[in-house]
């Protein structure tokens, strides 16, 4: 039964995407809405990204140092491991799991509320392709802005790690910087950015889907929001495995 529901959901999601990815009625309106969504979904997420990144960067550094006590390990180990964790997983997968909660629930509740208050019906009756009008600017905006968030996350996480070295005596500043620079592979940055694009698409499109098909009232909007966040989190983890296999 559960499998049947999942397949039905997948089919409905594909139909929804078919409606979303059609030519906008008015490019000018689409452009304006996309810019507004970049501000709402992307720019407004920057403070959260900065706060999380700086603390997680610091925590990763401390934990790396506390767990790398062997005298046989080279001095750059802590910096190198911290950097790889930040570039390969934290700045994309973990960040996107966090954003799935913030941005995903925001999108689902907004569109879901529009559904239960008949605003989507109003758009349909006017002859507007409501799926395209509501979802496409959000998906495009979030996918376009996600690399900015990822790069900010990477940079701020390093700053968090450096903060630990600067303000405490857990690790020396020079050792950490040496570790950050040792055996650097540029592709890892690209790998993180590419993954984040897929994750951004998953977060925005799944959230839009769950919001668009809400039936009922406020309670159902909340439930849809939860389902959207859970589904996109699972999909992010699934695609994380697939993309890691493909890209690395």
């Amino acid at each position: 039964m559960s499998l049947f529901h999942s397949l039905a959901d997948l089919g409905q999601y594909c139909i929804f995407m078919g409606k979303v990815f059609s030519i906008p009625d008015r490019w000018k309106v689409f452009g304006k809405r996309t810019v507004a969504e970049i501000s709402k979904l992307g720019v407004d997420s920057i403070p959260l990204v900065l706060i999380i990144s700086i603390f997680i960067g610091a925590v990763i550094t401390i934990q790396m140092k506390l767990n790398s006590t062997s005298p046989f390990l080279p001095s750059y180990t802590v910096g190198l491991a911290t950097r790889e964790i930040i570039l390969l997983e934290f700045s994309n997968s973990i960040l996107c799991l966090i954003l799935a909660g913030k941005v995903g629930s925001n999108i689902t509740s907004e569109i879901g509320t529009m559904r239960v208050t008949e605003q989507i019906d109003a758009l349909e009756i006017m002859g507007v392709n409501s799926a395209n009008f509501l979802a496409l600017p959000k998906i495009v905006a979030f996918v376009v802005f996600m690399p900015v968030l990822v790069i900010l996350c990477m940079g701020t996480s390093f700053v968090g790690g450096l903060g630990v070295a600067y303000f405490t005596e857990i690790i020396s500043y020079t050792q950490l910087v040496e570790g950050f620079q040792t055996l650097f592979i540029e592709w890892y940055v690209w790998y993180g950015l590419i993954k984040s694009l897929f994750f951004a698409f998953i977060i925005a499109s799944v959230a839009c889907y769950y919001g668009y098909y809400v039936k009922g009232g406020a309670l159902q909007v909340g439930a849809a929001s939860t389902r959207g966040v859970v589904s996109s989190s699972i999909l992010i983890l699934l695609f994380d495995v697939l993309l890691t296999k493909v890209l690395l």
């Binding site: 008015r26 309106v29 529009m114 208050t117 008949e118 605003q119 109003a122 009756i125 006017m126 002859g127």
Partner: protein
């Protein structure tokens, strides 16, 4: 004119509309009345194309919407305005933004022209001065008026109103009824109103379609309703002692609905 011919609609094997036929006239306020669950909303949603009946015809001035291609339907939708039960104003837009929305999406007007047209519609529904307010800052009646302004912004040929008086106090309900009636006559719109409100029925019901358990049981107007013999209609319309007494008084004295249920506009301000 909208003609509904032998429309049947079912949900999961349960027939909600049974072979319903009705005519909705241009320049008149056409009311669909009936108890909850009688099929009013399903009929209205079928009329505006949100639901697709299994059989029958729905003709908008001869054009059958059930035979239309998506492109033709999209064109027809530009001729339709709709007032929803909950107003359905866009929360993120001001009153002006809401009224300008259809103009922005479907006309090639400049911004200034769109604004002028929107302001004209806002003034027409007596909401001048509230154009920069958001829906959450408006009362229920003002939201309804803003929704009417949005519905008429494209000069629709057909106006659909789903329970326009729901949640409003009697005085505001009268204002909304009068506004809908005035707009209908002023612009020659085919207005279809789905309502439970007996004041509306007796005040603006120029063409009334009564649905009972998915069947169209009676057609008439606010004057004929007093002499109707249909038991289900009488049980529905004259359900309260007050309306029963009004009916008896009118029948006894040979008055019309206009004489009893029409309101005195001097008693309140719009």
């Amino acid at each position: 004119m909208i003609e509904v011919k032998n429309v049947t609609k079912s949900f999961e094997g349960k027939t909600v509309l049974h072979d319903v036929s009705a005519d909705f006239y241009t320049g008149k306020t056409n009311l669909i009345i009936g108890q909850s669950g009688s099929g009013k909303t399903v009929l209205m949603k079928s009329l505006v194309g949100l639901l697709r009946p299994e059989q029958g015809q729905i003709l908008f001035d001869g054009r059958d919407i059930l035979q239309m291609k998506p492109g033709e339907m999209k064109e027809l939708r530009k001729e339709i305005g709709m007032l929803f039960q909950g107003s359905a104003l866009f929360d993120s837009e001001t009153v002006l933004g809401n009224v300008m929305f259809p103009l922005m999406m479907f006309t090639s007007m400049s911004y200034a022209e769109q604004r002028d047209r929107a302001m004209f519609c806002i003034e027409r529904v007596n909401l001048g001065g509230s154009e920069n307010k958001y829906p959450s800052e408006l009362s229920g009646g003002m939201q309804k008026r803003a929704a009417i302004a949005r519905a008429i912004s494209l000069n629709p040929k057909y106006l659909f109103c789903d329970e326009p008086n729901s949640g409003l106090d009697p005085r505001t309900s009268i204002l909304i009824d009068d506004l809908l009636s005035d707009i209908t006559h002023e612009y020659g719109i085919t207005t279809v109103i789905n309502t439970h409100d007996m004041n509306s029925v007796l005040g603006i019901g120029e063409n009334i379609i009564f649905l009972n358990k998915g069947h169209r049981e009676w057609v008439g107007d606010m004057h004929k309703i007093f002499s109707a013999t249909n038991q289900a209609l009488n049980d529905f319309v004259f359900a309260t002692d007050l309306f029963q007494e009004v009916k008896e008084y009118i029948v006894r004295n040979g008055h019309t609905a206009h004489g009893s249920a029409r309101r005195n506009k001097d008693n309140y301000e719009i």
